[in-house]
Symmetry: C2
Subunit: 123 residues, 2 copies
Amino acid sequence: MLIPDAYSADCPTRQVLDRVADKWAVLLLGLLSREPMRFNRLRRTVEGLSQKVLAQTLRSLERDGLVTRSVFPTVPVTVEYAITPLGMTLAQTVDQLRIWAETHMPEVAACQRRYDAARAEAA
Amino acid sequence: MLIPDAYSADCPTRQVLDRVADKWAVLLLGLLSREPMRFNRLRRTVEGLSQKVLAQTLRSLERDGLVTRSVFPTVPVTVEYAITPLGMTLAQTVDQLRIWAETHMPEVAACQRRYDAARAEAA
DNA sequence: CTGAATCCTACCGGATACTG
DNA sequence: CAGTATCCGGTAGGATTCAG
């Protein structure tokens, strides 16, 4: 399925994969694909995501041109993050993963139980 | 795009995301979607993947029911990994990511250069 | 509110050696 | 060949504090 070159360390495809393989980035992209949001709102919405990692992830997404960062000079300052057209194309692609997850999660969970049961019995 | 529940820690969707967000798992799934392979062949093919992590990842994939592990009692022993029908559906979904990467990688790279240039100039 | 800076720890993962 | 076990260093990331 994947082209052979993707398995050498310097393949561009693998560089992209490094970014997409970031759980938080995927989650944030999904959120922002629905509506722009502010920093603390994102922080409160995504459970288990620290403010440090949130800031890092948002910076990466901005650097990749997937989201924009807009500062409004209110008091106190307001910062809004929004998805870009480019980011939207990725969000749509990644959304297929969510659909797969919803469809096949029960089967995966069943496989895990079977695997664990077999190992417990062997021991 | 993503459903609200996906942002709580105990959502099934997020559990699946944890697995998909594994670069090596994605790479291995892509390889095995083409043909069954043996341990050392996978090891040699995927550059930068240590044998320890390879073993771990293959065990996870097997536990999730995405690949099968077949032992042939030859001397020395032969172990072959093959993708399952379930794994194949995920591989096809994930392959969309590769297509996105190939299509948009140049644009992402351009955005990165612009971002880095802007920051360098500011400093 | 939106971060950046510091400190500190847990865990990931590499290297190596050993086994069936 | 196909792993497991052990050791060990680097680093991601949590907690906390401070700033604009």
